[in-house]
Amino acid sequence: MSADVELQNISVTFGSFFAAKNVSVKIEKGEFFSFLGPSGCGKTTLLRAISGFLDPSEGKVLIGGQDMAGIGPNKRPTSLIFQNLALFPLMSVSDNIVFSLEVRGVSKNKRKKRADELLELIALSGQGEKKVHELSGGQRQRVAIARALAIEPEVLLLDEPLSALDLKLRQKMRTELRAIQKRVGITFIYITHDQGEALTMSDRVAVMNEGELEQVGLCDDVYNLPNTPFVATFVGENNPFYAKVLSVEKDLVKVETQGYTFLATTGKINKQKNYSFSKGDEVLMFIRPESIFIKNENTTLDNMFTAKVNTVEFEGNLKNIYLKINSGMNVRFSVPNAVDTNELMNNKEVKLTFSSKKAIVLPKGALAVD
């Protein structure tokens, strides 16, 4: 069974500090939903409010339509996977997995049966008698998932459980987590500061900053159509240009920045509505590094500018090229590794081009710290 989770105007205060500020969001049944944000943005606070370890100062948590006020974590239909997993080191893997059944007085035989079932689910059959420390990092991860699933919770809460793993294992576990979620079909609420994790696994993400929800939406919407400058710079890489509006025509805005005139797309306030700008507004224009190209006969888009190469950085699959416009502002673009960049020497002037469809104009606001 799976349940939806609804947060209604949740605020959590510690003294005068708002760990969460008026957060409202509805997470659908069976959805893989992520809260994404920098550390200290309040995402863990929300998770603790959902799991019942913390009472919100204001607002309601509804699980399956039922108000959870006054219901402790041991009575909620949720299971929490901790950042450090919090497996019980003195118990065997099987005992860990069926601990929740043990405390409910389920008989030994039934427990054994359920443990074997779950061990099979996480591909650790026959390893139930081992101690937790005898398992590898990825295996421990899977045991933590099995332990959380043993009582068949309606909602599984995950608090950055992959953050301690190395990159390869993390990538593998992403796929595995997603597969497990599909198999068991329950609601997963995932907390992370890693946008890669959030985007690869989730159906929808909520981007948080300083206790507030910045944007809730499908992964590609959040990436392609950020609602705020924070989201634009926190999710993926972006080049922010401080600009002034010259004219507005439908959802295209002509802006002036760094001595150039660019054509860009009006950003959205939310899924339905665009921002409205008028001439003279101070705005931010965002263009992602992968949307800027070197101008040549084959590639010429509707915006163009010139910049001087500063450094070329090798990142494996990509090369990042850092440039300066008018010797002041830094711009970055990236090309696939296969592209020959030998000509991009220091201080060489390059003509660059990008499409107005890929440039987004948003009102001025706080950027994610870079």
């Binding site: 041991n74 299971s79 929490l80 450090n84 919090a86 003195l90 601990f99 405390v103 409910r104």
Partner: protein
């Protein structure tokens, strides 16, 4: 050895080795070996020591078991009784101490915020600046038949006639429990503090009751600390002298009081030595047994 010298430098290394060797050999091994040897010697006047009568003998151990030759009893019921009672009471006091200290230590380690915990630790330590004898006398005053506790109980009408706390050994148990409370709390606190708080939350999230969380998660984790605290409290309680002298009822004798008498009043050092060796060995055996029972290794206790 070489790496020890390299790591600490010649000066500090030499100091460490000399200090430890001195400590071990001169302050522990030699006096105890002397006592062990003495316990197997007859009690002779100084002139005859080292003479032909000064041979190894079991006479003092025999005395503990069978009593003096002039006595009519088959066994030395008095001394054995005192011994058994001492060990039994020490066990009881250790258990009371554990039950009393575990919640406090858990509160300090896992629930209280750091400031409150520090305050609590200080308020536990400060009373121990007062010496043991004085503390025992203070308790005696509290528990006396005209003492504070009786007066309060009588004044509030909870009881009709005064309770003789001293005759019932309630004062003794209280005094002994309180005397070594820190030696129980600190090992427990150390052990509990190292428990990951997430484990407690995980257990709770999985539906565990508070009792079961303690039974399955906290106590197994703190086992070594519990063993360490219990060992120390048991040893020290069984070997306590000042508190029993001040607080025990006239009918209760503590085994250390017997030892004290043999050494001081009866001037029979060898018998006193034999009795203390007995107390030491039974205490050690008891502790080893407990460790075997609870599957704790000696290394874990020291940790």
């Amino acid at each position: 050895m070489n790496s020890f010298f390299k790591k600490n430098g010649p000066l500090i290394s030499t100091y460490f080795i000399i200090a430890i060797v001195f400590w071990l050999i001169f302050l522990i091994i030699i006096p105890q070996l002397y006592m062990l040897d003495l316990s197997f010697r007859p009690n002779l006047p100084p002139l005859l020591r080292g003479g032909s009568d000064d041979v190894h003998t079991l006479v003092h151990y025999k005395h503990f078991i069978f009593g003096s030759e002039s006595s009519e009893d088959t066994y030395n019921f008095v001394d054995i009784g005192v011994f058994v009672n001492t060990i039994y009471t020490a066990i009881l006091v250790t258990i009371i101490n554990l039950c009393f200290c575990y919640p406090i230590a858990f509160y300090m380690a896992k629930i209280a915020n750091p400031n409150a915990a520090r305050l609590l630790i200080i308020s536990l330590i400060i009373p121990f600046w007062i010496n043991e004898l004085l503390r025992s006398f203070a308790l005696r005053i509290l528990f006396a038949s005209e003492g504070v506790i009786n007066n309060i109980l009588l004044g509030t009408g909870l009881i009709d006639s005064g309770i003789n706390f001293i005759a019932q050994d309630i004062a003794l148990y209280t005094g002994l429990t309180y005397a070594y409370i820190l030696l129980m709390i600190f090992p427990l606190y150390n052990a509990l503090e190292s428990l990951d708080t997430n484990q407690l939350e995980a257990a709770k999230d999985l539906g565990s009751s508070t009792f079961r969380t303690h039974w399955r998660i906290v106590i197994p984790h703190a086992k070594a600390g519990i063993a360490s605290g219990c060992t120390m409290v048991f040893m020290l309680t069984a070997g306590a002298l000042a508190t029993p002298i001040v607080l025990s009822s006239p009918n209760t004798y503590w085994f250390t009081q017997l030892i004290y008498q043999w050494f001081n009043m009866n001037d029979n050092w060898s018998r006193g030595a034999a009795y203390s060796i007995l107390l030491l060995s039974v205490s050690v055996v008891f502790v080893l047994l407990m460790m075997r029972l609870f599957k704790v290794k000696i290394g874990e206790i020291i940790r």
